[in-house]
């Protein structure tokens, strides 16, 4: 079909090219990580199409149940290369003394069924995070949650908060440790309480969409997130 289109004219040819290059890019996306993955565990360079399930199981070293196939494998594969070298030097602040840290609300794991996915009622109530207003403990308006960042295991780590400015001029986005946020009952319109002062927010460097942002972290990091360092 693509050859037929190519004969028809310049436009068709360009379209075909785009389709082809898109297909190429897509296949590159899929194959590139799967090729790199085997390098770390055992065997290098295996035909890409068949390896992914095996390779990811090795790389992540998690329970090899059949039920958790697509998403963990995908998440791990994307940043597998990135994962190995970088966290090592930045991992110094890891006290892990505290026993009762405010457990970050786990979202996905509870839903995972052992065998097949099934439809169930979600425990407790849940609400949308994007666009939620953020308030300080003393009721200060600290802006809104505009983005949520997860780590390579899919755990929610960082809330991106936009604050300040006037009519959209001079806004500032910063990354904040998820465990600094306190969710209170009250439905979709209830604000999130941020356990930090305004001055601290102002001191935090602006979040610019980097994969490894500087973020405002909780004082004694409960799980000490590797991708962010306390400022």
């Amino acid at each position: 079909m693509t050859t037929g289109a190519a004969y028809r004219g310049a436009a068709c040819r360009r379209l075909a090219l785009i389709v082809l290059s898109l297909a190429g890019a897509l296949s590159a996306c899929h194959t590139a990580p799967s090729r790199e993955r085997p390098v770390t565990p055992t065997e290098p360079s295996i035909p890409p199409a068949e390896t992914p399930p095996v390779a990811t199981d090795n790389a992540v070293a998690t329970p090899t149940t059949e039920g958790t196939k697509a998403e963990p494998a995908e998440a791990a594969s994307c940043t597998c290369v990135d994962n190995t070298p970088k966290p090592a030097p930045k991992r110094k602040p890891k006290p892990a003394v505290r026993a009762p840290p405010p457990a970050p609300p786990a979202v996905a794991p509870t839903l995972a069924a052992p065998g097949e996915p099934s439809i169930k009622l979600v425990e407790g109530s849940s609400e949308s995070i994007l666009g939620k207003k953020v308030r300080g403990q003393d009721g200060d308006d600290l802006g809104r949650v505009v983005d949520v960042l997860a780590d390579q295991q899919g755990r929610v780590r960082i809330a991106v908060i936009e604050f300040g400015g006037f009519l959209g001029v001079g806004n500032r986005r910063i990354a904040v440790d998820w465990s600094l946020l306190k969710f209170e009952p009250g439905g979709a319109d209830a604000p999130v309480i941020l356990n930090a002062s305004k001055a601290k927010l102002q001191g935090t460097p602006e979040y610019k969409g980097s994969a490894r942002p500087l973020a405002l972290m909780a004082p004694a990091a409960p799980l000490s997130s590797p991708p962010t360092a306390p400022k």
Binding site: V146, G165, F166, G168, N171
Partner: protein, 417 residues
């Protein structure tokens, strides 16, 4: 100077316009109100859209896409919209349709903030902004005539500045104390008085044909667009906007990072220059008629590099706000000179609006490129370097005016008058 002489010979009758201006005193008032309400309306469509969409649970990616669509639409339609306005005999009708388009945009934002409507509204807003500006300038030219244009544009800028300042205060309060959505309902409501202000103007613009130039359209079209004065001014305008546009963003971002109550101070940074513009614009218009365009341009442009240097040197909020008020001087001079110089150069051809569109395009490029460029500089080399760079670009604009920009004030007509 040669093209100007050509145009003068081919298009002498300015006296009917003058008579018309005297015959319709109410038209001037109506245009004042129209400028005020339009500026009010436009306040809601600025960067505030990003805040609103974030409150509507839009992701950052989609918000970025929506804003880019708006920018591209506005840039792409500058020149075609100018040509379109040239082709339409009734400029008041063009203005009315543009305002109605704003009503539709505001309602789409307020009622259905889903991607399809938001993107549509962004495109529509970009397009109708590009038709509205030239249409307003064309109406001004009809009402005031070529001699009265400087004064008329000074008044336009004054009332637009009042509208901007009031709009920012009104919408800021509305967003803070009512809701983000209410801002767009307010915007939609404000289009009604804008339309009402056009009512007394509806016959004026029809009655007086702007163009009396004859000759082949294409030849004159090329002549106007290759006019050296227009091109040099376009470059000046582009450099000025390039240096000016990111200034507020950098200053206010810095304030949010450093001071206790940024919103109020940023509001001051926005509103205060508008007050200065409102006060200074008529004087800029008068000065343009008495001392010439170049001196007004020089005055307005030189404020810019100075401002950037002060910002580079200090972040003391009081000083910053005081110096930001200087933006009002630049804003007044530039806001009045842009349509005035274009009207000098192309006011009696059929391509007044097209020429305005060309300058608008240059300004758009300057504004669009400079914000990310300045942001990049600030990220990598610090905000001080960004201000130094902006100051240098501003100085370049001053140099260009000083050494390349010719005077465009129509001297011979002044004698006739």
């Amino acid at each position: 100077m040669a093209p100007d002489a050509d145009l003068l010979e081919s298009a002498p009758p300015t006296t009917p316009n003058l008579k018309q201006a005297q015959a319709t005193p109410g038209a001037g008032r109506a245009l004042d109100w129209f400028n005020l309400f339009v500026a009010n309306i436009q306040t809601g469509f600025g960067p505030f859209i990003a805040v609103y969409l974030a409150s509507q649970r839009w992701t950052q990616t989609s918000i970025g896409l929506a804003l880019s669509i708006g920018t591209v639409a506005a840039m792409a339609s500058q020149v075609p919209a100018g040509a379109l306005v040239d082709a339409m005999p009734n400029k008041t009708r063009v203005a009315a349709f543009s305002v109605l388009a704003f009503t539709a945009c505001a309602l789409m934002f307020a009622i259905y903030p889903i991607p399809l409507f938001v993107y549509l509204a962004e495109v529509l807003h970009g397009l109708s902004s590009c038709t509205l500006g030239p249409a307003t300038a064309a109406m001004s030219l009809v009402i005031a005539g070529r001699f009265g244009m400087g004064l008329r544009l000074g008044r336009n800028a004054r009332y637009a500045a009042i509208g901007n300042g009031l709009g920012a205060a009104l919408m800021g309060a509305c967003g803070q104390y009512v809701s983000e959505r209410a801002v767009f309902y307010l915007t939609a409501a404000l289009t009604l008085p804008a339309l009402a202000a056009l009512l007394p103007l509806r016959r004026v613009a029809v009655a007086a044909p702007i163009t009396s130039a004859q000759g082949t359209a294409r030849g004159q079209f090329l002549k106007v667009l290759s006019d050296r004065r227009l091109l040099i001014f376009c470059a000046c305008a582009m450099l000025f906007t390039f240096a000016n546009a990111p200034m507020l963003m950098l200053v206010s971002g810095n304030m949010t990072a450093k001071v206790g109550n940024p919103s109020l101070l940023i509001a001051a940074c926005i509103v205060l220059p508008q007050i200065i513009v409102a006060l200074a614009s008529p004087a800029a218009g008068r000065m343009a008629e008495s001392r010439g365009r170049r001196s007004v341009l020089l005055l307005g442009f030189s404020a810019l590099p100075l401002r950037a240097l002060v910002f580079a040197g200090s972040s003391n909020p009081i000083l910053v706000i005081a110096v930001q008020a200087l933006d009002g001087i630049g804003g007044a001079c530039f806001g009045v000179m842009m349509p005035l110089i274009v009207s000098d150069v192309a006011g009696r051809t059929r391509h007044f609006n097209l020429s305005l569109g060309l300058i608008g395009f240059g300004v758009g490029i300057g504004g669009t490129l400079s914000t990310p460029a300045a942001g990049w500089l600030a990220d990598h080399f610090g905000i001080r370097v960004a201000f130094y760079a902006l100051s240098a670009v501003g100085l370049l604009a001053v140099m260009l005016v000083l050494f390349a920009m010719p005077e465009t004030r129509p001297t011979r007509e002044a004698e006739v008058q």
